[in-house]
């Protein structure tokens, strides 16, 4: 029995490069993350589909028909890009926050901590898992929106770039949140008190041109406004902000949060005693 194991050990010991080991580790984390949110699809994929359908019906169809046009387009068409982006960022954030904290809570994170996986690879794996869920929910919401409106596609590269960068940024946010969380309540505080208000005030349902100048300037400090508007630009070709400024801002924030996350991982904050 043990001899078989040892023979196998000697025969199968393969010299592998550091890169190939880290690549397999990265893929493993991503597959594990995708398997997790697919396994509990009733909690991860279904709720945003139902919520967004209700938004489409209530704000788009019922109320939207009385509002008329916003920035020169139908109200329903106006809110669809914002709602898709809202789904992407909340799900990217939520996936990483709940999964990483869950692993911490039931100590399965120790599997990774004893392994030779680099902190940057651990981070990349979890972030990619969050992006996968964010993009998948975004696609589901997009497909649902087609029932209510005819979506245009003004600039596909902008849509793809903004979607992925936004998902990455919020997945990083979820990761940092999970590192500092000590109980499950701690991973809902930031979404409830920061992300949701910023999303609602980020131009999902209105153009900031409707606001007085002072509040327009205040709105420009909201990073979600840039994501929603640049995504809307990719779909409809209308935006309240500069697309290049939005993409630059996303890249700067991603670089900043990535550095913080890797530093925290190396220190073992919230993980090692």
């Amino acid at each position: 029995m043990a001899q078989d194991i040892n023979n196998a050990q000697n025969e199968q010991r393969i010299e592998r490069s550091v890169f190939s080991i880290q690549w397999v580790a990265f893929s493993t984390i991503v597959i594990k993350e995708v398997r997790r949110f697919m396994r509990i699809w009733q909690q991860t994929l279904l709720p945003p589909a139902i919520t967004m359908t209700l938004y489409f019906i209530i704000f788009g169809n019922l109320i939207g028909s009385r509002i008329g046009k916003m920035d020169g387009v139908d109200y329903m068409s106006f809110i669809v890009p914002g709602l898709i982006m809202m789904s992407v960022i909340t799900n990217s954030y939520g996936n990483v926050a709940s999964s990483f904290f869950g692993n911490k809570f039931q100590r399965s994170l120790e599997e990774l901590m004893v392994s030779p996986v680099y902190p940057s690879v651990i981070l990349a794996g979890y972030v990619m898992g969050g992006v996968a869920r964010g993009v998948m929910v975004g696609l589901i919401v997009t497909l649902l929106s087609l029932y209510f409106t005819d979506l245009q596609l003004h600039n596909l590269p902008v849509v793809i770039v903004v979607t992925f960068l936004s998902a990455i940024l919020f997945a990083l946010g979820g990761f940092i949140n999970a590192i500092f969380a000590n109980k499950f309540d701690d991973i809902s505080i930031i979404p409830t008190f920061i992300i949701t208000p910023l999303t609602y005030l980020g131009g999902v349902f209105y153009s900031i041109s409707l606001l007085p100048e002072f509040w327009q300037n205040v709105s420009m400090l909201n990073p979600i406004l840039y994501m929603v508007n640049s995504f809307r630009y990719g779909i409809l070709g209308v935006s309240d902000v500069s697309i290049s400024a939005a993409i630059s801002m996303l890249i700067v924030f991603i670089a900043l949060l990535s550095s913080i996350s890797i530093w925290l991982l190396k220190r073992g904050t919230g993980m090692r005693s």
């Binding site: 194991i5 196998a8 199968q12 397999v24």
Partner: protein
């Protein structure tokens, strides 16, 4: 050759508690090594630091010649860890847990498929491979952690209380598994509360108390410190007729059992002759287990007395 080398390892927790006071420890390659000590002595902290689960305050740890800080990647590849508490995702399937762990060491599902099957069969988990881990019994969960720790073929296996809460039959089958694994070349380091386990399995032993190594020697040498040995005799006959033997301490456990304390190098012939003369038949004989326990208690008590004395003097 050294499998594990620990030099001047210190750990001070945030609350000021000094869990390790600069310990030195060396484990040779191929060894079956036990780290023993009472609760809170520093065993789990030591293994936690070696496993990268606890941050050290100072000192160095080297695994198979690789410094854990300077050459983390190589050091971690040599190590398999079975912790005391269950630390896998209870909602994942048994097979997925094993394959995921292999992936963390750069091994794909295809590469480890046959090894995974060998391990799961050897640990009687093959039939459970598609079940969710939360459906397993406590013993199965513990064996799952052993299979998981071995999937990347580590050169050193760390086992923190591997048989805690496991029934006797299963414990013995796990001992056999670990013995064979060690015979085939894997260095095994374990902590246990079952001193019989350390006596049966281990070649070398260290006892830690109050964050310091009290003794670090071979099991044989440690047991050699025992001045006496106790034998338990199962007997049939009237024990009232047994004459007094001045060179032996004989204790009547009950009407069927005698305990005979024998000095080192002293024979038992005289006892057997006296029993035969008294018409008492010896049905079987065994050494009293937990010899190590006696030494353990003595060593830890001595160390505690020294520590208390030093505290008073301070």
């Amino acid at each position: 050759m050294t499998a594990l080398s620990i030099q001047g390892l210190e750990k001070v927790y945030g609350n000021g508690f000094k869990a390790l006071k600069g310990i030195d420890l060396t484990v040779k390659r191929g060894d079956f090594f036990a780290l023993l000590g009472p609760n809170g002595a520093g065993k789990s902290t030591t293994l936690g630091i070696v496993s990268s689960l606890v941050q050290k305050t100072s000192g160095t740890v080297s695994i198979m010649g690789h410094d854990l800080v300077k050459d983390t990647f190589a050091a971690k590849q040599c190590l398999g860890v079975v912790p005391q508490e269950f630390n896998f995702n209870q909602f994942e399937k048994v097979y997925d847990i094993i394959i995921t762990q292999a992936g963390y060491y750069g091994l794909t599902a295809k590469q480890v498929a046959s090894h995974a099957e060998t391990l799961l069969r050897a640990l009687d988990l093959w039939d459970k491979r598609n079940e969710s881990a939360r459906m397993l019994s406590g013993g199965m969960k513990r064996r799952l952690m052993i299979a998981r720790a071995l999937i990347h073929k580590p050169q050193i296996l760390i086992l923190d209380e591997p048989t805690a809460g496991v029934d006797i039959e299963l414990r013995r089958s796990m001992w056999e598994f670990m013995k064979k694994l060690n015979e085939e070349g894997t260095t095994i380091i374990l902590t246990t509360h079952y001193l019989e386990e350390a006596e049966q399995l281990c070649k070398n032993i260290a006892i830690i108390n109050n964050g310091e190594i009290v003794t670090n020697t071979s099991v044989k040498a440690l047991l050699g410190q025992l001045k006496t040995e106790t034998f338990v005799l199962d007997v049939d006959g009237d024990l009232e007729g047994l004459p007094e033997l001045k060179d032996y301490q004989i204790r009547h456990v009950d009407n069927e059992h005698l305990e005979v304390v024998v000095d080192k190098g002293q024979g038992l012939n005289e006892v057997f002759s006296a029993l035969t003369d008294a018409g008492i038949q010896v049905l079987s004989m065994r050494t009293k287990a937990n010899r190590l326990e006696e030494l353990f208690v003595d060593l830890v008590q001595d160390d505690n007395e020294v520590a208390n004395q030093q505290t008073k003097e301070a």
